[in-house]
């Protein structure tokens, strides 16, 4: 019984904004299933009482002063833009709502 179905892979691709082809879906589904099989074993040893490690370095409270520092000029900011207009990044029409 595959761990991950083709439909699930299609859903993931959508969530991740990847317009994968039908062929890719087939190939990826098989590969991802295989990989998931191998990585699933982490849950074997992940007991309740083991705290997760999110950071390899034992630092806390790293803050900076609330002081303005030079940034980029408008030109530098827009230099790599695929499209720009009136000092702003121009993007195609947006379908979704702001959150």
């Amino acid at each position: 019984m595959p761990k991950i179905s083709r439909d699930e892979v299609a859903h993931l691709a959508k969530l991740a904004r990847l317009a994968v082809t039908e062929h890719e879906l087939d190939v990826f589904a098989g590969q991802l299933d295989h990989i998931l099989d191998a990585v699933a074993k982490v849950s074997e040893v992940a007991a309740e009482d083991i705290p997760p490690t999110s950071h390899a370095v034992p630092l806390t409270n790293v803050f900076r002063e609330d002081v303005v520092r030079p940034g980029l000029t408008q030109q530098q900011a827009l230099a790599g833009a695929p499209a720009a207009e009136e000092g702003r990044f121009r993007v195609p029409r947006i379908l979704g709502e702001e959150q």
Binding site: L12, A16, L32, V42
Partner: protein, 514 residues
């Protein structure tokens, strides 16, 4: 006339400072070498001759004025993995998505190199966004291993390692997330170091897996790597995960190690690595390396790190998860590739079509894997569990380092595999990182130093040395001592100028004994 490309960085720095040779001459010699051989090695994606020579001239001027050198390697040229931003110079990360992108800012590592008077020859090839173990995932062609042009140079930093092995640069910078400096080092016969996590700033290091990525030195000798390590390491206020502590005294440790005495050093052989499943030639080379360490005076014991067997699966959950988030910014809105912007497609469609076209298969696989592992309903079983395995691995290391000063293992289970051999089998490819991953998960320091050539195929093998976090100096002491006791492996790399590569073959017993 000495072939300047055959000298070590330490030797070159000495000669430059002593005015025996100029940085311009040294830099030009390497640019010439690149022009000569890179059409078949393909280590470089971009060569910046003008910039490198200008930097070299500045060093020569300073030397001429009698100024103190900007660093111990001032004037020595270097190759920079194309995952670090360089202002005004294209930075692609090996991806179509960033083809032609010119960053408006330097990475901290880049800035430090410039301030240290290090001419940057150019940007080296890599697996796309640092994901891979062979550099075959680059959108701009594969880099060939200077030892055998039918074989991979390792990855993701194959370009940097190959540039060293091909004598195109005496120094290079790589980045290591699961072994991407060390494994290429092992399969090209060069030295590669992953510093303690947080030891080198990640500002300007295009993120793959934020809690694992580290930039580090690649070189032909341990001392050279140490000299470079001291230039790039140090606290950076632009990186919140940067360690605010003095850089470990790695150069002093390397010099100490070169005296060839490891008495008092306790070395642990990781029981879970090596043995079955490892290429026999690699295993034999490793065993010889262990014997060598003993001969140098080290006390060698076997140490068990039982949770290391879960390191690879944990890594292939954590890294893809973080990368699925880190790569979300590549959406065609502000920079990089944009396709289908014809008025008939929405922003969402342009994003999806661009990412589909701009990313290669491995990147897409990992993004989807990571998206899955973080999904609601799956988080606990996958990402959450992997973070717990991380804790267990740190505990294994902590327990091991109670008993020993460093741990050793083969760097990677096989020598350089053939180009194309594992591209269609992701899991087979992932196995290359088996031994290197634990150090990334724990944030510890680790090094690969050449341990010789495999007797089966005459290809380089690496010895991995692992040290506790902040104890990078131990790597250099052990690595330097080991190196000093062996013949230089790169003396036997094929001569690329004789019209291309010479295929490698099995070693004669005499050669194997070296």
């Amino acid at each position: 006339m000495t072939d300047l490309t055959k000298l070590t960085a330490a030797e070159l720095a000495g000669k430059i400072h002593a005015r025996e040779v100029s940085s311009v001459e040294v830099t030009q010699a390497h640019l010439d070498r690149i022009a000569e051989v890179d059409s078949f090695v393909h280590a470089f994606l971009h060569v910046d001759a003008d910039g490198a020579l200008a930097a070299a001239r500045a060093v020569d001027d300073a030397v001429g004025r009698g100024d103190a050198p900007a660093s111990a390697i001032a004037g020595v040229p270097l190759a920079l993995k194309d995952v670090l931003t360089t202002k005004g110079i294209p930075t692609t990360c090996g991806s179509r998505t960033l083809e032609g992108w010119i960053p408006p800012y330097d990475a901290t590592v880049t800035r430090k190199l410039r301030e240290a008077g290090v001419p940057i020859l150019g940007k080296t090839n890599m697996d796309e966004f640092a994901m891979g173990s062979s550099t075959e995932n680059s959108a701009f062609g594969v880099t060939r291993n200077p030892w055998d042009d039918t074989r991979i140079p390792g990855g993701s930093g194959g370009g940097s390692a190959a540039s060293i092995a091909a004598f195109e640069a005496p120094l290079a910078i790589g980045t290591d997330t699961g072994g991407s400096i060390r494994q290429p080092g092992a399969v090209t016969g060069t030295v590669g170091v992953k510093p303690t996590y947080g030891g080198v700033s990640r500002y300007g290091l295009v993120a793959f897996s934020s809690s694992l990525d580290q930039a580090g030195p690649c070189a032909r000798t341990v001392l050279d790597a140490a000299l470079l390590h001291e230039v790039i390491a140090g606290h950076d206020r632009m990186d919140s995960t940067s360690i605010d502590a003095p850089v470990p005294a790695v150069v002093a440790a390397a010099r100490e190690g070169l005296r060839g005495d490891l008495t008092g050093m306790k070395v642990g052989v990781v029981k879970e690595f090596g043995g079955d499943g490892y290429q026999p030639g690699v295993q034999r080379s490793f065993e010889a390396a262990v014997a060598q360490l003993r001969a140098l005076g080290a006390e060698v014991v076997e140490v068990s790190c039982p949770n290391f067997t879960y390191a690879l699966p944990a890594y292939y959950l954590i890294a893809p998860s973080e990368c699925s988030s880190n790569l979300a910014r590549f959406d065609a809105m502000r920079y990089g590739l944009r396709v289908s912007d014809d008025g008939a497609h929405s922003a969402e469609e342009v994003m999806s079509l661009t990412r589909e076209e701009g990313f290669g298969a491995e990147v897409k696989r990992r993004i989807m894997l990571g998206t899955y592992a973080l999904s609601s309903g799956y988080y606990d079983a996958y990402y959450g569990s992997a973070q717990k395995v991380r804790t267990l691995i740190r505990r294994d290391f902590d327990a091991a380092f109670e008993k020993v000063d460093v741990l050793v293992s083969p760097t990677t289970p096989t020598t350089a595999f053939k180009i194309g051999e594992r591209v269609d089998d992701p899991m087979a490819m992932y196995l290359a990182d088996l031994c290197t991953i634990p150090a990334n998960l724990a944030g510890n320091a680790a090094m690969s130093v050449p341990s010789g050539l495999s007797d089966e195929d005459g290809l380089p093998v690496g010895l991995q040395i692992m040290a506790p976090a902040l104890a990078d100096d131990r790597l250099y002491r052990v690595g330097a001592a080991f190196e000093a006791a062996r013949e230089p492996v790169l003396d036997r790399v094929p001569d690329l100028t004789r019209g291309g590569f010479v295929p490698a073959g099995a070693l004669s017993p005499a050669e194997a004994a070296k």
